[in-house]
Symmetry: D2
Subunit: 470 residues, 4 copies
């Protein structure tokens, strides 16, 4: 039930723990709440996890202790609810066949149901994450003797998942039949197979991209180097439902996701937006940092100069102490300095990648107004977000979405801009390479690729309002 | 030499978390490796655990977060093998009836067997401690509807245990049918029931001693204050086997254990030793700190003046850095300063409570020799330790015990003393109030109160040489 | 390359300590080695300093302890030599007139000479920084009764300095007669006067820019609000020598420095560079982050599209652990991800702000080559750095400067680019508003604004190779 | 102006830094507020200091960085007032002859006067400790060319001091003409000279006691091994005034101080007390830990058995969190457990070494009463403390001394004991080896060995209520 995560795995490399550290570091944008690594050789597993950034959790000594040729790792996003240490992944458990570690990115629709069923048969749960359900399925005597136990148990799951298993003799990388979340395979120079959520993790360790894990596929990499493709479901039994929000916001611009470069997709969306919603202005500026690609695309398409309105503080992200007397827009100013000559007296086209609650965007617009902007035309390089995600993106509740009950004009007024245009759903889908029906656009369109009548809430698995802090 | 734990619980007190903190602090001598507290009100459980001393693990903020009227806590001793965070107690798990927390002091003989059996039925284990077996028994659908589930499942266990459960509606304190480990009940002024391993935990919080939990008894304290005595086994089906080593070494001298004051027992043992092994000397001195009671008893009985040979450093226990050039007996000297006038040219009777490996004692004897002692007569206020303990005392391996293959004369020579005498088993048992056959003396006599043909080793539950560090 | 500091002061504000914290945070780019704040009310001084970033040094509790209406603060850059805690500023000392705190940005040419003289009269020095000389001058009985003691003693100093004093009854902000380093005055809504090195410190606290402290001026702000302009030297006795490197590299693009916006100056330099050294290409890309302004100027002027070749890691700056097996260009890749479609098979104009050693630039160029760039044309928006700075910029030794003994063609070959052009000195000076002779360009031209025959080295004041670590 | 300190120095040993660490550790009882070490070889000084215990301040890495053949160190007691990092000793400063480090134990009567004089001549002070005055005297050009500069400048000081200097070519250990504070010389096996406040520092490093530094003597140990005795004042110009409180309370019982063993002195005082104030009882018990020696002496002399009423917690000294609901005598109980059988229904003679405020003693007496003591006869092995100390013992203010305005009967009633007797001044002086007039007994008798009409208060040197926290 954890949202926004990054996975990394490597099989058969003397420096596996450190390469996993780097692979997680490169995917830190996918999750800043916690980080964990499990490694093993042919005798023993080792696990090290902690709250915080990869660079905070892993000291040199910890990495040295983890030295081993096989490793999987996980980073997780900061959610507001239930960030207990007990939930940090990868999980490592004991069962009748020995030990197994699991790392998971996605959201399981039927986790609560399965959990209830297992508890009624005497099972014990130590975490409140849906990942633990997977290991109970694995330990079930009915599944133990299946030819491909991992692929077999995954067929019981409904929802979105990319998942990594580390068994005593193999690593398994699997992706749900819809392919919601990305998962890619690569190779090191020494032949070691690597797995990651995004290709940017390969770049940092000089791994070569090999191919995507296919929707519904489980790829087993045995310790002897054998690679075996197993099927959770027969190929093409499900229509793909690639998460379009990975392209819009979540993935790193340098990554290839679902087979194409994220920066290119975003630039195309910005250009498309210029076609859909042109306006005359002195400069096109981006709300840093995410919208730079789209803003560049808008500027190129429109011929209006690309400008810099904000300087990002190198030190933002550090925790800082707020003064007692309220400064206007201080949280914005701790992160961004305005370059006044770009703004003062100017007509600006401000490009955003997406607007969720609207509060941050509103603060930044306010800062530009205070710096003397003459006109502000906001262009959002994605459609209005109006529906919840049940597949792993941790949007706020429906009521908090600015587009939930407001129409575009009302949002314009709320944000305080002179004009506002969103990219159309068709325009958005025209910028990606797969057919439009192969993407999940539910957060924009409300059309879910599977039945979500009884979805689990983020805290469905937490009974008694469990609070753990360790 | 110590694989040991301390327990504390309190039911129905507004300051339960802080009182548990104090109760654990007072029993810190029972375990310095880790500490943990689980609390709840009528809605939610909270858990906070960590490696280190009670005062290191719990900050003011953590205690405030734990505020709740019901609490159990646990301290554990530093063992060399498997000190993973995942094993810190109390455990807190989810099962079909909600949540339950467990804290355990002792050692289960049949834990490995039970664990194997449960794993074969699909169970998952997250820790390598035998305590987790207890929660699997609790979650077993076959046990759920028993009248007294906790008492019922404990009847499946073999070995030594004192255990505390915190259920959503009650606390249960139980003790194995042999009563190996102590467990006592007390009451606060406001009527709240408290449970602890030793009475010294009651003194610090001004609780009144009420009674011992009986061997084979499980005492349930319901949230409404009802106290119910349940039976694991019918009364008197087993002959008690109180651990005599609690009296000799482990418990706090200020505590009452098995119904009598520890200091008094030790003083009596010292006096008995003076009768069994008299010798003329200038002074009776104790090896600090444990042997002071026995030394006082020896001095009184013999009429030879009690003297002070060592000053204990107030700062010992802090980690310190050893210089590169070896100093003679430096580890001893970091903890003890010799008072030379007491020692130089004097004939000393040195009293020890027990000798395990002999290395520490030897170092201290060497320090006395270096300070000019003329004669050193070592008197040990317990018999030679020659056999392993399967019931919770973490002695070193048999081969490391100085008395394993050496006779008394050989030990005397090894320790470098002029004469050496141990207290006899009969002498020892003459100093305690229960009949001798009601004590477990297996470490001295080799006579175990139950069949130990297939005992579990400390690491039996760790497959693949699991190493976790978090 | 940076021996540099940032100053902040505020006189007469109930929230002075926290505002100073924010003012230092906004100027963190001027110094990351250490941070310090001294505050006072009308009775007592308080001081808190530490190694590291502003956000690391100051906890909420520390800021609360510093609460007081008058405050000065300092940030300092990490130099390789002598980063002792004892040198952290502001200094706070006792002398015959009470206490005084001093914070200093710059470099004093005659500090060694003065120090020697004072030591010979019995003075004691606790630090190895030149700032301590200033307080000895202040304490000198010959200076105590001058009308303006601070201005008076500064007239004894040679070199570059902007300096803040906090006396028991006033704050004094002063700038050397050449005006090497920036120093600006602002006002808060409540009338409180603020002082900072750069105007970006005013933006974060909503202070209004008032005016620059003039070269050779000392501005005293008394506790009653009176502001008094004092002179260190008569006006216009010296020709200004504003440090051009503040404009090129050091200051924040959002700041106004020496009367004009830094981003605008840099954009103009980039545009000028396009005129001086045009070349055909597919895109203009910046080496992040500093060169973005200049690259934008180059792109606008040339009409070649501005592109994004690098994504800056949000998490760079955190300390990370290098794997044992060397990855190619790993240090670059920890900070930057390459967007391959922008680079692969493309002819790139790469814009840098300045090249000092050349090693970092070379690494980034190598990364672009590895990503498949077809042509790389490096354009540097400043002239070659060939001479040492004696006025506060901590360049490496002359031998380490890539332009020291290499001509442009040799540098081009070393950096591995297809063509290389630097901005000319005339071109550079054409982009700033003051007359060219009013800037110090010594690092480029070798023409120093004052005699530097006997300059002090950075460690001149450290005798016996002092090493202190606290 | 620092009180209660410990000194250690070593000249010419490859492991000097680590041996100093051990020497300070052994003298930790003399000061727990801060610790510092300065070392040097023939080229450079190094300094490392910090707040807290020796074992907290010095990590392995810090000690390795300090590696050097010459070292001096300092521990300082926790005083309530002015514990700033800036005051941590040893001081290390620069003056015209290079660097010099100073560590000081004692209290200078004329420090304020000298400081004022120096400030008026332009001197700057960085600390609020009287030690800094010493370095200003050293740096004074008038003193630089004296034959023995250290001895010469010390002759300007009035008050109590034992002081260590580390010059670039020698270490100097000096003691004031009255010899208030102890200072002893020893030798290592390799010939290296060591200096310490107490001989217990020699025991831990296997150094041999050589001799005391004489009152009024300065012993210079040159780097080539030459030892030179210099005189601050001619021998025997002052009558010794050895601090009797070192014998009663302050020094370690294992140490020799002023030429005799502390434990022996205390035991003799206890015996003398038994003669002066006999009473019938069941047992003699000590208030731990300090009074054990005296209690043993009382028991031996009286023939009444020595008993144990309290167990000292091994974990006291750790900071702990107090529960919100007040427990009776909790602070006492966190440190001491009562052994009830020793106390309940018994007539006890309780021996204390000294009573200052009376609050702690009262709490302990209350604990004994609560445990059921039938009679409590308090015997204090020193006279009532009625006068302030100006020579380095940091007693509370006169008003806080329990004996200040109360007579013995009033104190008895306040403490809640059945009878109370103090040792007489004559009795006390009969137990030490030097003539009574050679001890300073001012805190008991009010007879000061020098004029103290204008003594400095502890904070005399802190103007403006300076508060520094770093």
């Amino acid at each position: 039930m954890r949202h926004h995560c990054g996975l990394f795995g490597i099989a058969g490399h003397p420096d596996a723990a450190r390469l996993t550290y780097l692979g997680l570091y490169a995917q830190q944008h996918r999750g800043q709440e916690s980080a964990g690594i499990v490694t093993r050789d042919d005798r023993a597993f080792k696990r090290s996890v902690g709250m915080g950034l990869v660079t905070d959790v892993f000291t040199r000594r910890r990495l040295e202790e983890l030295a081993n040729p096989f490793a999987i790792g996980h980073v997780r996003y900061s959610t507001t609810g239930s960030c207990h240490e007990v939930n940090i992944q990868p999980l490592l458990v004991n069962y009748s066949r020995g030990q197994v570690a699991v790392a998971h990115n996605g959201n399981l629709i039927n986790a609560g149901l399965l959990r209830k069923e297992y508890e009624e048969h005497g099972a014990i749960f130590n975490t409140t994450s849906d990942t633990e359900v997977i290991v109970h399925l694995l330990a079930n005597p009915a599944h133990l003797d299946k030819r491909y136990p991992a692929a077999h148990v995954l067929s019981h799951l409904q929802g979105a998942y990319s998942v990594l298993f580390l068994f005593p003799n193999r690593m398994v990388a699997a992706r749900d039949p819809y392919g919601f979340r990305p998962l890619v395979l690569g190779r090191m120079d020494n032949g070691a197979v690597v797995v990651a959520s995004e290709t940017c993790a390969f770049d940092i360790i000089d791994a070569k991209f090999w191919r995507e894990v296919e929707p519904g596929e489980a790829v087993a990499i045995y310790d002897d180097g054998t690679v075996q493709s197993q099927r959770i479901t027969p190929p093409n039994t499900f229509r793909p439902a690639y998460c379009i929000f990975e392209q819009i916001y979540f993935a790193d611009p340098a990554s290839d996701v679902f087979g194409e470069n994220v920066h290119e997709v975003r630039t195309a969306m910005g250009a498309r937006l210029a076609t859909e919603a042109p306006v005359d202005a002195d400069a096109v500026v981006a709300i840093p940092n995410c919208a730079r690609c789209a803003a560049l695309g808008y500027a190129r398409q429109s011929g209006i100069p690309y400008g810099r309105a904000f300087i990002t503080s190198h030190y933002a992200g550090r925790s800082f102490i707020m003064p007692e007397q309220n400064q206007r827009n201080l949280t914005v100013k701790m992160k961004l300095n305005v370059i006044k000559p770009t703004v003062k007296g100017k007509r600006l086209i401000v490009v955003e990648d997406s607007v969720v609650r609207g509060t941050t965007t509103r603060g930044k617009i306010g800062t530009l107004r205070a710096a003397g902007a003459k006109e502000i035309h906001l262009r959002v390089a994605s459609p209005p977000i109006q529906h919840p995600c049940y597949f792993g993106i941790d949007f706020p509740t429906r009521e908090e979405l600015v587009a939930h009950e407001k129409n575009v004009e009302e949002i314009r007024a709320y944000l305080g801009v002179d004009s506002l245009h969103y990219l159309s759903i068709e325009g958005m889908l025209a910028c990606v390479k797969h057919p439009g029906r192969h993407y999940c656009t539910a957060c924009f369109s409300g059309q879910y690729p599977m039945n979500v009548d009884h979805p689990v809430s983020k805290f469905a698995l937490e009974r008694f309002q469990l609070q753990m802090f360790e």
